[in-house]
Symmetry: C2
Subunit: 419 residues, 2 copies
Amino acid sequence: MDSAAVMKDITDRAKKAAVVLNVMSSDEKNRALLAMAEALDAARSAIKEANAVDLAGAEEKGKSGAYLDRLKLDDKRIDGMRAMLREVAALDDPVGDVLEKRERPNGLIIEKVRTPIGVMGIIYESRPNVTADCVSLCLKSGNAVILRGGSDAINSNKAIYEALKKGAASEGLARGAFILIEDTSRELVEAMLKAAGDIDLIMPRGGESLIREVVEKSTVPVIKHYKGICHVYVDAGADLDMAEAICYNAKVQRPGVCNAMETMLVHESVAEKFLPRVAGALRGAGVRMKGCPATRRILGIDIEEAADEDYATEWLDLVLNIRVVASLEEAIGHIARFGSRHSDAIVTGDPEAAAEFTKKVDSAAVYVNASTRFTDGREFGKGAEIGISTDKLHARGPMGLEELCTYKYVVRGSGQIRE
Amino acid sequence: MDSAAVMKDITDRAKKAAVVLNVMSSDEKNRALLAMAEALDAARSAIKEANAVDLAGAEEKGKSGAYLDRLKLDDKRIDGMRAMLREVAALDDPVGDVLEKRERPNGLIIEKVRTPIGVMGIIYESRPNVTADCVSLCLKSGNAVILRGGSDAINSNKAIYEALKKGAASEGLARGAFILIEDTSRELVEAMLKAAGDIDLIMPRGGESLIREVVEKSTVPVIKHYKGICHVYVDAGADLDMAEAICYNAKVQRPGVCNAMETMLVHESVAEKFLPRVAGALRGAGVRMKGCPATRRILGIDIEEAADEDYATEWLDLVLNIRVVASLEEAIGHIARFGSRHSDAIVTGDPEAAAEFTKKVDSAAVYVNASTRFTDGREFGKGAEIGISTDKLHARGPMGLEELCTYKYVVRGSGQIRE
């Protein structure tokens, strides 16, 4: 069979399962999720053995320590997957919620009802825990899911997949509700990207080059998140204690994630006072700073000069760009030019400045007097998230169960016809 | 300049205007819309002259009568465009609506706020009234729009565009808020489809081949509507008077539109009684019927046999497929196989059958005891619509002003940092 035929067979199975998932009760879905958590426990040693094979292979290829760390599955990570399955089982079922209801003058009652999307596709790199996380969220939201993980994690993924299938089967879950693509060839992933009409949505998870390739080639709609170049702007009238705490938290608390600050913008009227104190704290945490000429004048020229390409870089590390701006408008302009529409914050005591910033900054999450680090499904009260969208269509910001759903209109009448 | 550079110049202008549109008040937008309606009136003779040139050109190319009719602009159509502009001015402004608000345990207040999407692209065929309709809806929803209409309507489109620009300028609307692409070359439309990052959403309007080409080539997200293959299923216990009225209305009232019925499904237990009476009424209206073997047994073999390809055809005409089914399940299966996820109805007296149908039929609008013809922005209480989406992402069913918007999260704190 050629790749298109193999993919057609996979999507046919997923579509059949989606029909069943669409009408499953919350209880049925939850029982399957809990059984899958138990099955992961039972398969613990098989999963670790398979993972050891993957790790040895990746090491042989000379992969970096960070790469190997993401690939590694220890008891803690297996327990993390189990906790996710149980957490998702405990979340409210979004399917069937009535989002709007209106009665028309002719007596028609129109309800906008939340429904599953159908068949999801996830393309991800060699992080095997993504396998279980995505399965749990798609199942609870009533969607079938086709998973295509990185080839370096294939043994780990297969072991997780077998365990999840065993758990799911014990509760009678439809076969095809989740399908791991075991053939990690390039041809098959390209067939997946051309499966418009059979797959409803593809979510790539991984580095920017993977995501760009998916967007370029896919005829299936894609929701994505390229990167997080997040800013904190310290306004003229900011409380400088608050500003320091927020900037320190946004940069240092977990620098390797997408909602960490990459560039700090400081109004010129507070720069002389604010920069030395915040720089002291940041330096203490090991942050390497790059600054505009004004920043370097204030902090000293041992700080590297920041170029445009620095402002456009997602460091994901203890590196920070600093720029002094003459106005709120200039800060907003910098964010429009270099930001990634992810999360941006203003620290200010001025309600008008806050209003202007929140209105004009076109990002998924815009903060006033809080750290950008809060952009996260759990912190937003959504429970677990499948990712964060920096797109504008369908879902923006943290994507939880609700964002894995669409809606349909259910219209009830008593014989109405159109005049 | 090559096409990509020309397009970049166009999208740069649109993006600049989008920044201004985003913060415009409802009053400012409404004043511009009303001035544009007046300007169309003033340009009436220029528009008709330009349209005469287009009509002569299309006639010379041997275009069909229906094509020429869609292209034609008379006083009534010009008044229709003006009415649309005024109607849209009177609609509520969706921008800034707070869709959700929650306070988190840490005191953060998270609001989900409706915002414009940004820069829209509309690709359409030779129906010049679409130009004014799309401009009005995009402007009111705070979006800039780039319009690429069919080459046969270019003179009409230019005349409308000039009039709209004049009206908009009299109210100081940002230049670039709406831009007609005057060069209708193939290269430029292809550059438009590759403008991901500069255009946020493309909506193709026209025949299926145009739409498929856009989906195939576009790296910009697309929302579309291929076709409407709508069904009415007459269930075992249906009120046959109601069923007849609904089926007649769904087929006959306006057969050339996407929410008209193309296939009627009838439960075998009522077929003997129902088919002869509904066929009489339909025949009286000039409907050509194609039937399954059971239908032909009941109605007589002068009715043509319906093949699978008939069930998959959007007739847009006084033609109807009829199929007798043994069960509700079979009706749902037929709709899943041949339908286009647009609008499908059940006529039934049985609440359980209604519940099963509305749950299992995966269409934008699912009706119980009402005509499919109600799938329309105005009938749904949304006011004017830009189209109907048969996609599942972002917007499904009629797309009004709200569906031309996205949202962002605005998070207000008092110095919160993440632990």
